[in-house]
Symmetry: C2
Subunit: 187 residues, 2 copies
DNA sequence: TTCATTTTTTAACATTTGTAAAATGTTGCG
DNA sequence: CGCAACATTTTACAAATGTTAAAAAATGAA
């Protein structure tokens, strides 16, 4: 079982001992397509790793719903504001396919952070990787047009293009669905 | 001297011992207005805390320069990609006023992360706070128009409005300077 | 398959924002 | 002061994107 965990990239840096400590706090869960596992108005008590499936994070606006993240196998999945500030987050997270996840209760994880130096640094690196990815998207928004962002997205996430509704991809790219259609039409 | 550090919010959570360990790696530096302390094409070996002054982070595009962060007293200041991946970053950081900074060499800091549980968790929280702030900006970009972002900016950073050139604020808000002028004209 | 539902595309038009250039305002230095 | 350099606003026009509505295509359930 520890061996199974090790093949998941996010756990690969941990020693046998730390991985064992962490695995004591893990549960394996499965949910069907369409399940909303994290809700924006609640404090989410778990941290998830997606073993298989697809997820999207979105926020509800007045008359639109904006997707700002997609997750695939191996991605970590958590409500930033629950995890960091113990407050309701900004995001809903919905599964776009039947999915298998590992979950860790935040209260357990936070205890480990105070006890285990390796796990504390593991948690630091997770936040750092999310930070780099989020900064990257902010910069891309500033420097690239919607058409280029669409090309990048198709190149980097070819599976998502096949499986995710274009309306979600449009809002992820920061344009309306009509504009995305026009971009696609201009092949 | 340790007491002086404690009044800086980012250090306030550390114990006497950890703060002492950290302070052994600190240097105090001062630079005049206009100094570029971090360059996008270099690996930046220091982590900074701004004691006084103003800073902005920007990236160079083909024909424009886009500001995506402003720093004030108490803010931490580092090249995300140098700090996280030991690679040249995306950002230049320039001082917009004469500034006093504390700097910590990354190699020293990383050693502390591997030795001191409290400092490792301190580093985790820094990354988490930057992450929350960056996510907040990405979501704001999606849900708020430029006029509302400008109002928010003036409300939250009244000192910056006074001291920073509007062209920098325009690119920070994600619009051209002409559009920002139009927003301002519509009082 | 067929029908109903949902998604995607297309079209016409409105609005916003961008671009370029000129006009005006501001700052600091000799 | 008076000039030079730079910042900001304004104008006119162009380009991109949004809005609304309808048509076409795809999907899923009976």
């Amino acid at each position: 079982m520890i061996e199974q965990l090790r093949i998941i990239a996010v756990f690969s840096s941990l020693s046998e001992e730390s991985l064992h400590e962490l695995s004591n706090c893990m549960e394996y869960v499965q949910y069907p397509k369409g399940t909303t596992i994290i809700r924006a108005d609640k404090v989410e008590p778990y941290f998830y790793v997606l073993q298989s499936g697809i997820a999207r994070a979105y926020s509800d606006g007045e008359n639109q719903q904006i997707t700002f993240w997609f997750g695939q196998s191996g991605d970590v999945l958590f409500s930033f504001n629950s995890y960091i500030n113990n407050r309701p987050g900004y995001e809903n997270i919905e599964l776009l396919a039947n999915s298998a996840l590992i979950r860790i209760k935040l209260t357990d994880l936070f205890l480990l952070y105070q006890q285990n130096l390796e796990i504390a640094n593991w948690g630091r690196k997770i936040a750092e990787q999310e930070l780099i990815a989020t900064e990257r998207r902010l910069i891309d928004r500033a420097f690239k047009g919607a058409a280029e962002r669409y090309r990048d997205f198709t190149a980097q996430s070819p599976e998502l293009i096949k499986k995710v509704a274009l309306k979600h991809i449009a809002s992820y790219l920061g344009v309306t669905q009509v504009t995305l259609s026009r971009i696609r039409a201009a092949h």
